[in-house]
C-alpha cells in the first residue's frame, strides 16, 4: 500500500526495537556486536528448523503443531547454548577488566548484555518473518489471507512480529537471570511462554482467527515484559528507586 504503508508496517514491527537499540545499545560497541552475534545464532537455529521441516511444507495444516513444538524446542536449546557461551564471554570480559584495571561486570551490564542478546533474536525474528515479506507492501495494492479478511497480511505480520520481538527480548533477560540464579520457576517460564505464544498463533489458522490471535500474542509479550521488569526492578534494588542507582558510579548498590 504505497511507501507510507510499507514504512508504517516496518515501523510497527521494528519501532520498539529501534528505540531500544538507540537508547541502550548504540552507545556501546560490544552490545552492538552482541546483537549481531545473537541474531546470527537465531538465524542458524532457523535454518536448522527449516532443514528439518522443509520436506513437509507446504503441506497439511496439522503439520504445524509438531513443527512448532520442535522448532520452539530447538530455539530453547540454542538459548541454553547461548547462555553457556555468555558465561565464557563474561569470564573473558572480567579477566580483561582486571587487566586494564577497570570495574568488573556489574548487574546493569549483565542486564544490558541480556537485553542485547534478546534484541538480536527479536530483530532477526522480525526481519525474517515480517520485513522480508514487506516488499510487496510498498506497491500500490495490499493482500489479504483467506483466513483473515479483517486485516491485511502485512498488518497481522507486523503486529505478530512486534509481539514476538518483545517476547524474545525480555525472555532472554528472564532466562539469563534464571540460569544465573538457578531459579527453576523462571527457567521454566521462558520455554513455556515461548511455546504458548507460538501455539496461540495457531489460532490464526481458524477463519477470522486473527482477531483473537494478534491480541493474544501481544498479551504474551506484555506478560513477559512484566515478569522481566519485575526481575530487573528487584535486582537493581527497588529501595533506591531513582535512576542514579543504575549508573555505574554508585557501585555499592550493585548486586
Amino acid at each position: 500500500m504505497t511507501g507510507a504503508g510499507g514504512i508504517g508496517y516496518a515501523l510497527i514491527a521494528l519501532g520498539p526495537a529501534f528505540s531500544l537499540f538507540v537508547t541502550v545499545i548504540a552507545s556501546k560497541p560490544f552490545l552492538i556486536l552482541t546483537v549481531l552475534g545473537s541474531a546470527m545464532m537465531w538465524l542458524v537455529s532457523l535454518i536448522a528448523s527449516g532443514l528439518l521441516w522443509r520436506a513437509f511444507l507446504p503441506g497439511a495444516v496439522w503439520v504445524f503443531l509438531p513443527l512448532l513444538i520442535t522448532v520452539v524446542a530447538i530455539q530453547e536449546a540454542v538459548r541454553i547454548y547461548y547462555w553457556h557461551l555468555y558465561l565464557k564471554i563474561e569470564d573473558f570480559l572480567n579477566k580483561l577488566a582486571t587487566k586494564v584495571s577497570k570495574q568488573q561486570l556489574v548487574a546493569t551490564d549483565k542486564i544490558q548484555i541480556a537485553i542485547a542478546s534478546g534484541l538480536g533474536h527479536g530483530i532477526a525474528h522480525s526481519v525474517f518473518f515480517c520485513l522480508s515479506l514487506l516488499t510487496p507492501a510498498f506497491g500500490p495494492a495490499t493482500y489479504y489471507v483467506d483466513s483473515c479478511v479483517h486485516m491485511p497480511l502485512f498488518l497481522v505480520a507486523a503486529f505478530t512480529a512486534l509481539g514476538f520481538l518483545l517476547l524474545h527480548t525480555f525472555s532472554m533477560v528472564i532466562a539469563f537471570n534464571a540460569l544465573a540464579g538457578d531459579k527453576r520457576s523462571h527457567q521454566l517460564f521462558v520455554p513455556v511462554m515461548h511455546l504458548c505464544a507460538a501455539l496461540l498463533t495457531l489460532v490464526n489458522l481458524l477463519p477470522g482467527g486473527c482477531i483473537a490471535g494478534v491480541p493474544l500474542t501481544l498479551m504474551c509479550a506484555v506478560v513477559t515484559m512484566a515478569v522481566a521488569g519485575k526481575i530487573v526492578w528487584d535486582k537493581t534494588g527497588s529501595g533506591s528507586g531513582d535512576l542514579n542507582s543504575l549508573h555505574r558510579v554508585h557501585s555499592a548498590s550493585r548486586l
Binding site: 552490545l31 552492538i32 546470527m40 532457523l46 535454518i47 577497570k102 518473518f129 497480511l153 558510579v249
Partner: protein, 466 residues
C-alpha cells in the same frame, strides 16, 4: 560517570563493521532500484572473455562457462599483482601513484556517471547536461584528491572510499549469475593462496614492504579510533623514530571496471609521501615493529587495537600474555593491517594489498599520542577496499533474488568478518579475510534460497510464527 569495561571493548570492530554495512546497504539499494532482476544487457568485461552466459544455456554449460570465466579472471588478477610487486620492487612508486589516481578518477567519473545517469532516468530528475557534467567532474576530482593527495576531514575520505567500493561492486553485480558466484568462490580461494603460500604475490608484496619499511600503494579504508585514550603521552612525533618512512598499508586501488579493461586503483603512496613528508606520523603504523609482523595478504584488516581493544584483549587473554602495565597503559596495540584485494582487473592488482599485519607492541606507546593530534593510530582499523567490494557484490547478488537472502548473507558476512578478526588475534599470523565471509555468505545464500524462503513464507502466510 566512570566508564566500565563494556564501553571500551569492541569499538574498532564496530568502526569497520559500520562502513562495510553502509557499503552493502548502498549496493543493495542501487541493485533493488535499478536492476532488481539482474542486468538485462550483458556487460562486456574481462570476466566474461571466455563465456557469455545466456539465460537458456544448460546447467552444465553455465557451470563450465562460469568456471572458465572465473579462472581467467583470477589469472589476470594474479598477473597484475605480480606486475604490481615488480613495480614496487623496482621502486616505480610515482608510476603507481599516478596510475592509482587515474584509476580512482575513472571509477568515480565514468562508473559514477553511468550510475548517476541510470538513477536520473529512473527517478526522472530534471537536470541538464552542463550542470551534471560540472557536478560529476567536481565530484570525481575531489574524490581523487581526498583519497590520495590532500588532507581532508576523515569523514570525507571514508565517504569517498565507500562510494568507490560501492560503484565497483555495483558494476560487478552486472555480471551474470553463475559467473558471479563462481568468481566469488574463486577469489576467496585465490586469496588464501596468495596470502598463505610463500610464493604468493601478496605475500611477497607484504614482505617487501616490511623489509623496506615502506607503504604499499593501495586503497585502504581507515576507521577512526573510537575510544578516547585515557593516557596522554608525549606527542607521537617525538616518540616515533621514523616519521618519514613509516610502513603503512595505504590505500588499495579500487578495482577497475572490467568493462573498461583498465586497471584501477589509486595508490596511496602519493598521499603517504605527502603525509609523511609533513613530518606527521601517519595514522597507520608509526614505528617499526618490534616483533615480527604477521601479514595477511589480500583483503586484510588493518587494525590497531586500543588498550582494551577487542583484538588485543583477545590475544592477550587467550594467549595468556602478560601485558605489562606500561604496554597496556600506553595503548600499544598489535597493528593489524589489512589491504584489500581488488581483483577487478589486472589493474586492480596493484591495489591488492592484503595482509593483516600484527605488529608487536611498541614500548614507546606512540599510538596513544596520536590521539592528541587527532590521528590516532591506536584503535584505527583499516580494511582494504577489495573486501568491501566483494562483500557488497555478494550481498548485491543476493538482493536480486529476495530481501530475505540479503539479510541472511549480511549476517553471514559480518559473522565471517568477526571470526576472521578473532582468528587473527588468536593465531597472530597473516590470514586472508575474504574466504570465511565469502564461504559463509555463499552457503547461507543457497540455504536461504532453497530452504528458508519457502519455509518462512509458508509459515508467515498462514500467520503461524514462532
Amino acid at each position: 560517570m566512570e566508564k566500565g569495561i563494556l564501553e571500551m571493548v569492541g569499538g574498532e570492530i564496530i568502526g569497520i563493521v559500520s562502513p562495510v554495512s553502509i557499503c552493502m546497504l548502498l549496493v543493495v539499494l542501487l541493485v533493488h532500484t535499478l536492476t532488481p532482476h539482474g542486468s538485462s544487457t550483458s556487460v562486456a568485461t574481462i570476466a566474461m572473455m571466455i563465456y557469455n552466459e545466456q539465460p537458456n544455456d544448460s546447467f552444465v554449460e553455465k557451470f563450465k562457462g562460469g568456471l572458465l570465466n572465473a579462472i581467467v579472471f583470477v589469472c589476470i588478477v594474479m598477473l597484475v599483482t605480480f606486475v604490481l610487486v615488480g613495480l614496487f620492487y623496482f621502486r616505480f612508486t610515482k608510476c603507481l601513484r599516478v596510475y592509482m589516481g587515474f584509476s580512482a578518477f575513472t571509477v568515480l567519473a565514468w562508473m559514477g556517471g553511468i550510475v548517476a545517469v541510470e538513477l536520473i532516468q529512473f527517478f526522472s530528475i530534471p537536470i541538464d547536461i552542463i550542470t551534471f557534467a560540472i557536478c560529476l567532474v567536481n565530484f570525481a576530482s575531489v574524490g581523487v584528491m581526498a583519497v590520495f593527495f590532500c588532507r581532508m576531514p576523515i569523514v570525507l575520505i571514508q565517504g569517498y572510499l565507500v562510494v568507490i567500493g560501492m560503484l565497483v561492486a555495483f558494476w560487478f553485480t552486472k555480471l551474470p549469475e553463475w559467473t558471479t558466484w563462481i568468481l566469488l568462490v574463486a577469489m576467496a580461494i585465490y586469496d588464501i593462496v596468495a596470502v598463505l603460500a610463500p610464493g604468493g604475490p601478496l605475500n611477497m608484496l607484504v614482505e617487501l614492504a616490511i623489509a623496506r619499511d615502506e607503504d604499499i600503494p593501495a586503497l585502504i579504508y581507515e576507521a577512526r579510533p573510537v575510544l578516547p585514550r585515557q593516557i596522554s603521552g608525549p606527542p607521537p612525533m617525538s616518540s616515533s623514530p621514523t616519521p618519514a618512512r613509516t610502513r603503512r598499508w595505504s590505500n588499495r586501488r579500487a578495482p577497475r571496471n572490467p568493462g573498461v579493461g583498465r586497471g584501477n586503483s589509486g595508490s596511496n603512496s602519493a598521499l603517504d609521501n605527502l603525509r609523511t613528508s609533513n613530518g606527521q606520523p601517519t595514522s597507520l603504523i608509526t614505528e617499526p615493529p618490534l616483533a615480527p609482523e604477521v601479514g595477511i595478504i589480500g583483503s586484510r584488516l588493518v587494525s590497531s587495537t586500543g588498550d582494551a581493544g577487542m583484538l588485543n584483549s583477545i590475544s592477550t587473554v587467550v594467549a595468556g600474555h602478560q601485558a605489562t602495565e606500561s604496554n597496556v597503559d600506553e595503548d600499544t596495540v598489535p597493528l593489524v593491517s589489512h589491504g584489500t584485494n581488488n581483483s577487478s582487473t589486472a589493474a586492480a592488482l596493484d591495489g591488492m594489498e592484503s595482509g593483516m599485519r600484527f605488529q608487536g607492541s611498541d614500548q614507546g606507546g606512540s599510538e596513544s599520542e596520536d590521539e592528541g593530534l587527532g590521528l590516532g593510530v591506536s584503535g584505527a582499523v583499516k580494511l582494504g577496499l577489495g573486501d568491501f567490494i566483494f562483500y557488497s557484490v555478494l550481498v548485491g547478488r543476493a538482493a536480486m533474488y529476495d530481501l530475505m537472502t540479503v539479510y541472511a548473507c549480511y549476517l553471514a558476512i559480518i559473522g565471517g568478518l568477526g571470526a576472521t578478526l578473532i582468528l587473527l588475534a588468536v593465531w597472530r599470523r597473516a590470514l586472508p579475510a575474504l574466504p570465511i565471509s565469502i564461504t559463509l555468505g555463499v552457503v547461507f545464500y543457497f540455504l536461504t534460497r532453497l530452504i528458508l524462503d519457502p519455509f518462512v513464507v509458508d509459515l508467515a502466510t498462514h500467520l503461524v510464527v514462532f
